[in-house]
């Protein structure tokens, strides 16, 4: 049924044992529909993680709404950073997704690996 399909988590997150690294993995199409889940994945951590890794290895597509969500995460980091700037890394993007990041020049404000 539609309802259960939709609620199937496509954003998963994992906090390292030290609590310093939060890895968020987005699988499938990273778009407006992921808005809530993505937000939930990084909110309410105390103390805030020092490094946010966005694992894009299973991300097939990324639209401008997703880029907007990354900007929100960036703002969130600036708000919650206690000592120094927390770092966001975008990892393992496939060629298509990496190209989208390059076209928008997001590699200038995020670390892309």
């Amino acid at each position: 049924m539609m309802v259960s399909e939709r609620s199937r988590a496509r954003v998963s997150s994992e906090l390292s044992e030290s609590g310093e690294v939060l890895t968020i993995r987005v699988s499938g199409s990273f778009d407006f529909n992921m808005h809530r889940e993505f937000l939930r994945a990084y909110q309410n951590f105390s103390p805030a993680p020092k490094l946010y890794c966005i694992d894009l290895s299973e991300t097939l597509h990324l639209d401008s709404a997703a880029l907007g969500m990354l900007l929100l995460l960036r703002d969130h980091c600036l708000d919650t950073a206690e000592d120094g700037l927390p770092c966001i890394e975008l990892q393992n993007a496939n060629e298509h997704v990496a190209n989208i990041l390059a076209v928008s020049n997001f590699d200038k404000i995020f670390k892309v690996r």
């Binding site: 401008s64 709404a65 880029l67 907007g68 900007l71 929100l72 703002d75 928008s104 020049n105 404000i109």
Partner: protein, 576 residues
């Protein structure tokens, strides 16, 4: 609180009907919290149909006698009256009778057996009743959604009207060299297109794509077009306009929203374009030979960061005969066929390369994408500019004011201004001069020419007089970029020096003379002729075409240009 549950009993036999009604009342009484029961009896299908809309039953039960005679058409007619509401129809049969397939063929939903088993009947009624409540809730939601969808369409139609009017300031429909297709859903997919002439006949055009969809995406177009249409005609530079729009969008939009944009400025006199691409798909310059030059995004989209370093991202390209520039939003790449495959850049460029008669390529591109695309959602925006054919346009309104002013005369006046390092560092002095000149009666008669002359002389004083930049750099594409990089850096570091601009106007009745003197604190031009001439580019021929006289003295940092009006100096004569 659910409404009453209405049951229509069809039975001609009064005793059977009475038994059935008593049974139903008993069952309803045994079901706490089920709400009221409304019972009605009609002797046959015909009368039931006649009263159906008034009764609006939730359930129809054919009594034992009526059920024997009921035909499939009777049930069909009843269902027809019920419309989209699914109203179950039950038959009462004796369990002594064997169920014939004829009974099934009538299409009844269920059967109550006699003698009645009140517990079973109660169970059945309760189930049907739950079904009916669920259905009512669903119907109510459907109506609500339909209504709000109709409201939404209405709002979107209003938004479209507003946006259509916003676009009225554009010169898109005046210039035959520009062809464009903007998705009919443009307002709501966030695409925006704006174009205007700057003083001096430069054309500026912007194709933008706001994040997301819907009204939120559309709203951003308002501040963007407001800045664009107010700054371009005042003569602000491309970089200045981009920085202003970026800062404004950053201030206004929520942080997850921004605008990808490709913006270019075409100077038809000097025959070059300066193009900025921030986050849009690669724009494509097609040479007459069929060679393509792709102009990729070199900057973050507008509105992402508070400050923008746009100058480094602007590319400079000399225009050649037969050049066409194509701009598109990502809707065109993302058009997909029935198998879900994207149209993509490769197919698009292939269609651009195809040799076609001039003037046919634009429609060919649109047709190619539409033929490929599976859904008929037209979500694409496409702009074609025949760079070579854009001619400077003088505003008709200005001409009208012009003749009126000429009758009254322009008068004799003079203006002096000196710009120090502070102003030269980041201010754009030309818009300031324009706003001053706008107050001078009749100044519009030479407005465009004066803009070109002032622009040339001012830039020359700044770039070569004060900053000592080497024009020779501009001979290659890479050099062009390097030149502008050095220019920005030089301006930022400017700590001393000045540029003085003097205007003197002498009115001779129907004609007159305007003298423009621009002087700088530099050490003077290195020779008016020779390989290192500061005016080695298109600047000097352009000035000479407009002015009656241009006086450049070797070793001097002073340039004097004299403009005449009232004599035929038309823009056409500027074309080589």
């Amino acid at each position: 609180m659910p409404g009453p549950y209405r049951v229509l009993v069809i039975e001609a036999d009064i005793r059977e009907a009475g038994r059935l009604l008593r049974l139903l009342r008993t069952c309803a009484g045994g079901e706490p919290g089920a709400g009221a029961l409304e019972l009605a009896v009609r002797p046959d299908t015909a009368t039931a149909l006649a009263d159906y809309l008034q009764l609006r039953p939730d359930l129809v039960i054919y009594g034992p006698a009526a059920a024997r005679d009921a035909a499939a058409e009777d049930l069909q007619q009843l269902r027809g009256r019920a419309g989209t509401d699914p109203v179950p129809i039950l038959f009462v049969r004796s369990d002594r009778e064997t169920l014939s397939s004829a009974c099934l063929k009538t299409g009844c939903d269920d059967i109550l057996f006699t003698p009645y088993n009140p517990i079973l009947v109660q169970l059945k009624l309760a189930a049907l009743r739950r079904f009916s409540h669920f259905n009512r809730a669903l119907q109510a939601q459907r109506i609500r959604i339909r209504r709000s969808h109709a409201d939404l369409l209405q709002e979107q139609a209003s938004a479209r009207q507003i946006f259509d009017k916003l676009g009225h300031e554009s010169c898109l429909d005046q210039a035959s060299a520009i062809r464009y297709h903007l998705s009919p859903r443009a307002v709501l997919n966030g695409d925006v297109l704006a174009a205007a002439y700057a003083p001096g006949g430069k054309l500026m055009l912007l194709l933008g794509d706001f994040t997301g969809h819907g009204l939120a995406a559309a709203v951003g177009a308002v501040p963007l077009t407001a800045s664009f249409y107010s700054m371009v005609p005042k003569g602000f530079s491309l970089g200045h306009i981009l920085r202003e729009i970026n800062a404004k969008l950053h201030r206004i939009l929520p942080s997850n929203m921004f605008c990808c944009a490709v913006v270019f400025e075409l100077d038809p006199h000097k025959r070059h374009i300066r193009l900025f691409n921030g986050g849009m798909p690669r724009a494509c310059l097609r040479r007459r030979s069929g060679d393509l030059r792709l102009l990729e995004s070199r900057h973050l989209p507008l509105g992402v960061l508070e400050e923008a370093w746009v100058e480094e991202a602007i590319v400079h390209i000399p225009v050649e005969a037969g050049d066409h520039l194509y701009l598109w939003s990502d809707g065109i790449h993302e058009a997909h066929n029935q198998r879900g495959e994207l149209f993509g850049e490769e197919r698009l460029l292939q269609a651009v390369i195809e040799p076609l008669a001039e003037g046919r390529r634009f429609d060919h591109l649109l047709n190619t994408v539409n033929a490929y695309s599976a859904d008929q959602h037209d979500d694409l925006s496409l702009v074609e500019v025949a760079l070579d054919e854009v001619s400077p346009v003088t505003n008709a309104a200005e001409v009208a004011v012009d003749t009126a002013a000429q009758r009254g005369g322009i008068g004799d006046w003079s203006l002096n201004f000196t710009l120090g390092p502070e102003e030269l560092r980041d201010a754009d002095p030309l818009p300031l001069l324009h706003s001053v000149l706008a107050q001078v009666p009749g100044a519009c008669s030479f407005h465009d020419h004066l803009t070109i002359v002032l622009g040339e002389l001012f830039r020359n004083a700044l770039e070569h007089g004060l900053l000592r930049l080497d024009s020779g750099l501009k001979q290659t594409d890479r050099g062009f970029t390097e030149y502008y990089r050095q220019l920005e850096e030089g301006r930022r570091r400017l700590r001393e020096g000045w540029i003085r601009i003097q205007l003197r106007c002498r009115d001779r009745g129907a004609s007159g003379e305007l003298e423009v003197v621009v002087e700088d604190s530099g050490i003077g031009l290195r020779g008016a002729s020779g390989s290192d001439n500061a005016y080695s580019g298109r600047g000097l021929p352009l000035l000479k075409a407009i002015c009656r006289e241009v006086e450049i003295q070797p070793g001097s940092s002073r340039v004097r240009a004299t403009l005449n009006w009232g004599e035929a100096v038309s823009t056409e004569s500027l074309h080589p």
